[in-house]
Symmetry: D2
Subunit: 432 residues, 4 copies
């Protein structure tokens, strides 16, 4: 195995160990997230955008098998050749794929077989990486595969939330909520001023980042103000009470169509009973907490709220300029507290930027100046989606903390609501 390149670029022990350790812990975390589920829960595809848990378990494994084991380990035997098609998500360059809206039809392979598949690939990859006969490209691919799997960890949670919400029994993913959290700042949001000017954004060349975060490049930003914390449930409820969903002039044209076509009157998963709001969560239906950041809103709702509030959404450049790169992301997801924390006490700069809710920006998802798509199939990872989508920033309470970066560009279609998506307000500063 890997015998073809025995002398080439032997890795230092520490890099190998770190890579292997990350791989093992990410893979284990994924399965940990599935523990509360029955195999039957893991089958369901409740809408085209949602994938069954079992599919996520298999697809993340397919990624390591396809991009590392099949290409770099000469003696590797695929677990099942049919999986190449079944668990390819969207990589045209790799070959055919099972149609996305039909993932819920796959009762076979069973969950047990998929776990066997994971064992098979984990073992082969562990052996390969542990052998030390790898090189920088391999290490980078393993790291990419781990970040890819962390993306799917978040999707496992958002997707199963949607699945369970479609069941009239409204079952909980997990009964306990592991830490409710009521401390922190709950007053009105202070506005923080930023001077702007010619600024650098994007990921530097070294360190892990997705290709869409590069190159680091200059942008000119006008002076602006940013809200110290994300918009809360309580603030969003005021928008609702003020007729926000019924006033066409607050909405983008496509947004107003979406409101009327879908009958939206509140964020996804919200319910109103006897004048009180509650929301379906991973722990079942719970009363809404006013001071928590609002989430499960579309870009259209975020934009309408901002207009109602006399403000606007920040551009992604503004957001990144305002984000202190030294801060740690909230570790809610790692702790298994699957809801956003109430914002902490307000300090000098904006708070709750990393690991609270994904924040919709005003920026369409288009390539950075100088963007170079990766070569081959991996070039399909991000580049081909640069049309019709909107950038979100900051990670959420369901994102592994180690997966969050200030330069991270997440993206979803403007009507998407099943993600942990909220907003933070911005506004112009008079130009002097």
């Amino acid at each position: 195995m890997a015998g073809s390149q025995p002398l080439a670029s032997q890795r230092g022990d520490s890099t190998t160990d770190e890579t292997l350790s990350r791989f093992i812990s990410v893979r284990a975390r994924t399965e940990e997230l599935c523990e509360p589920l029955d195999v039957e829960d893991m089958m369901v595809q409740s809408m085209d955008d949602v994938s069954p848990t079992k599919w996520h378990l298999a697809h993340t494994t397919w990624f390591f098998e396809t991009f590392i084991l099949e290409r770099h380990v000469r003696a590797y035997e695929p677990f099942d050749p049919a999986y190449k098609i079944l668990f390819n998500s969207y990589y045209n360059a790799v070959g055919d794929m099972h149609p996305r809206p039909r993932r819920g039809l796959l009762s076979r392979p069973t969950a047990a077989q998929v776990y066997d598949y994971r064992r098979h690939v984990d073992s082969a990859l562990g052996e390969f990486v542990g052998s030390g006969n790898t090189n920088d490209e391999i290490t980078d691919l393993v790291t990419l595969g781990c970040h890819h799997e962390q993306q799917h960890q978040e999707l496992i949670l958002t997707d199963i939330k949607h699945v369970l919400s479609c069941n009239p029994l409204q079952p909980a993913y997990r009964a306990d909520t592991r830490g409710t959290d009521t401390v922190g700042y709950a007053g009105p949001t202070p506005w923080l001023g930023f001077e702007g000017g010619l600024s650098w954004i994007g990921a530097p060349d070294e360190g892990f980042a997705f290709d869409n975060e590069r190159p680091r490049h200059k942008v000119y930003v006008e002076p602006f103000e940013l809200a110290a914390r994300p918009v809360t449930n309580g603030e969003f409820a005021e928008f609702i009470e003020d007729g926000g969903y019924r006033r066409a002039n607050l909405w983008l044209s496509d947004g107003w169509d979406a409101v009327n076509r879908n009958g939206w009157t509140m964020p996804q998963y919200w319910q109103s009973r006897d004048g009180e709001y509650a929301a379906f969560t991973l722990s079942g239906v719970l009363p809404l907490r006013d001071s928590e950041p609002v989430c499960h809103i579309s870009h259209y709702e975020a934009d309408a709220f901002a207009r109602w509030a006399g403000a606007r959404l920040p551009t992604e450049a503004e957001w990144e300029v305002a984000c202190d790169p030294g801060q740690d992301a909230d570790d809610t997801a790692d702790l298994g507290i699957f809801r956003p924390r109430r914002a902490p006490d307000i300090g000098q700069g904006p708070v709750a930027m990393l690991g609270s809710v994904w924040e919709w920006t005003a920026s369409a998802y288009t390539p950075y100046s100088g963007y170079k798509q990766a070569a081959g199939a991996l070039g399909e990872y991000n580049g081909k989606f640069m049309s019709g989508q909107v950038v979100l920033r900051g990670g959420s309470c369901l994102t592994a903390a180690g997966h969050i970066r200030p330069t991270y560009r997440n993206f979803f279609p403007p009507a998407a609501r099943w993600q942990m998506s909220g907003l933070r307000l911005a506004r112009n500063l008079a130009r002097g």
Copy 2:
């Protein structure tokens, strides 16, 4: 329990025993059919018309609970009140129901819980019937519930066949075929003449029959000829080779639309490889046997074939007049041989009428002269579907033999193909 009517119409032991015994054996047979399946297979809804196996298991149970236990057993405790909505198929008079196209979203209740539900209802119903404190109405309802469940036994098989066919792995429901059968008549079909005239059709008042088979009534039938056996795969392949699917003049207008919209070029589940036909079956993909009755065709295809053959479909009256009421239905389903037998040697009358394939007739599904819909919710069983559907006769190799009657009126929309539906030819006799 049932204490409210202790003195009324105590049933004789033999009726009670027979009812109970039928109930127990039908309920057991249903579960036997599920043995080859994983719980994951039992979750899938591959199209709106298909229900998950688990749903069939629960719905048949709901039927006994709703129409017998809840109405006639005073102390009965429902297993779970939410099931009233989840497992109601289409009975508006009973209350709300879970939307049919969303049955595949129900990971909860799990299969294990559904089996518990069955145990709960089986036990309560067994106790109630076994107590002898029942009456004719109860016995009739149990009998109806058993026939209802036998209908769903057939659907469990046709539905899982569709589900598995949608998986690119093409898994078999069961590997072995339990008896292939090559004896019997395979020559050209003799035509058999019938005088017609004023005839009686429909079920008599006594004995079990669905309401749509009644009343027995007079119809006038012109002299006609009927084919001695159903059309075979080999004959249908000739139709295909002769361009049957490409010649508009052979088709009903709606049928021609269906052919073009769906891209039909052969019966459902057929495949053509290197000029040889094969078909997906409950035992996976198998070569086609020319002498077996063709099935998985729509009414449109049956009608087009008949026109191509210079014949027509029989009316349901002709079919019933020609069917010897004394014959036994084929016991293929009971034996677990889930494919139609090659027709036996030709004798005096038509063969393979009962228990081979459902035979499309020329008759729209409308009420018999004098039809009276049952009162209450059970009146929704058959009557409300008397629009837009076509009558099929004879039962199939997937129908329990005890559930087949010459007067049985099955019905499906003309485009349905996932049932075991075939045809038998008829033609006019010169009027003398």
Copy 3:
């Protein structure tokens, strides 16, 4: 012209004259019906089922050109070869056709060109028939073409009614109503008893009839009762007031779906303002007259009304047995009174059977016993629609009186409402 068959079957003068005279008057009547319209009105296709007036003008002309001039007149020069495709409705055997839902896109040929086309064909056909060098087949084809055109005269009116109803200005086809009519019987409907028994229905071999009315054949009819007159607007309003559109148990399953999917709460074109009903008519919005027959209802609504009234729809055999073949059809359409008359005084038999409203029956549109489809393209006229449709009987106030026959089998899908479709009640008589 027609020189190929000069000696064959020279027609008697009287037949020729009669044929020619019918041709001329039918063709003229069609154009008369278009006089109140602007060419812009004549362009619109307001739904797939509706054709623009201009298309009707051209298609009826195409019929004579295709089936008579092109086949039987050697020297005939087509007006424009492209029209073969543009104005073919559904005759696959004749060649390609312009897709039905795109008829409204044809601004060219202009109405003026279509009228030229009519002149061209009228002249050629008049010359051919007037020459006397025809035969029985030709005469029959001309007669068929005239009846075909009379069908389209009715469609011109029902289609333009739909077109104008879609315009928020609610313009009238014609301002005056030419005769409102308030005499006649308005009390409760008497029930009339019929003995039934073995009866003959269908058109005899001689005389004009469509192929679907033949052969005349025997049917057995149980004793039944039929309402003396059609159901009125006033009676239908009672059904509405009694919650008819909200009670699932009154409806066929497909009907209940249609009610909910389309939001039906009253017949098409009805409006309710301040508790008073009005209806959009060819003369604009007018108050509803209680004593007029109800129309613009679907088969589903007719069936639900009958169930609500404790009755049912008659079969087409019952209807035909009850219809006195000697009576004259109402001449409302010929007089330009485009609304059904209030039923006349009740006499011995049922009234208003011919020329009032099309009456939905309980019968699916299937072939008569012994039915033979015409050979060639004309075989597509009726036969290929014998699936999924329901028979209506009696003609309407928009049908030319000379086009109405007691044996006439009209047919529409059960959800169709834009035709002048109403109902008459029937019920069983106890069998003695």
Copy 4:
């Protein structure tokens, strides 16, 4: 009339004259464009995005009536109050509107009535403006109305082109082509380098511009190269021949979906016969000229072509930086030459930027930094469409020359192809 403000801000004669003269000439030009059409052509809506010519004639009139006459002329009598709803396009703040996809149903008002409507408004507006009793706001509104009407002049042409293309007769809007033009540069495209840096884009405060072009603001642009001229038909044909429409890796994900869903194999209106390309034009089907700029391509096709060519689309900032503001727009549209000219001889800078074809950019249509939506209903003009659309620059051969500006931001959804949309290539310059 306008008596309410007789003394306020009397306009100088020259401004009044210029405004009036522009109004008269724009209004006349619109009607001139309709001269080749029959009223029947002016009725058709061939897809949701297309409006009938008649509707354009009325809607542009409605704009002047609604935003000027009704608000500023006290004694103004609306021509017909119903037109407020019928001819409102999308201004929610003004009230209800007739649904866009149903504009083709409006046979009434007739074209003649719409021309009367134009006369009525022209006369009232001419009198109002001519009276001199106006002010800057009124003058600005008239100017805006004229530019609005010029936008619709272009739509009249692109929409009728689509309408006529849907007719199997493929009729020409106008037989003659008024000037074919074969001179000019036809060699390979030179690349022109631009230094970029901190640059100003957007319209200055003075002069006419739409709100979305403002404010003029700074952007930072990296060094880049731009093609001297737009991509030609001949170059696009090479892309096709090289399998451009069959290679997934060239396409954005949404683009690849669009290709497959719509079966795209070449630009809209192109045909391939015997290996030669032709295209449907306003003068009917004509052979394709290799040296003309390609148009009728979607953003997806533009992007795929650029990737195939090893280049990319320019951002709108790059485009604007490269566009010499002093140059005149091509006057093709004013001359009635409704096809793009072959690019002229190459000079110092890029050519054919204004008035050739609309050029797709890489930029999503989002607000400029500091954008302020106009107040009231006119704020709906542009701002609410800033989602899901892509910016095009430069105007086309169908755009009135006086309506074209270098700062003009046109926008369409990325799949739109019925506009005169083409592309110009860009690429990065190594950062040094």
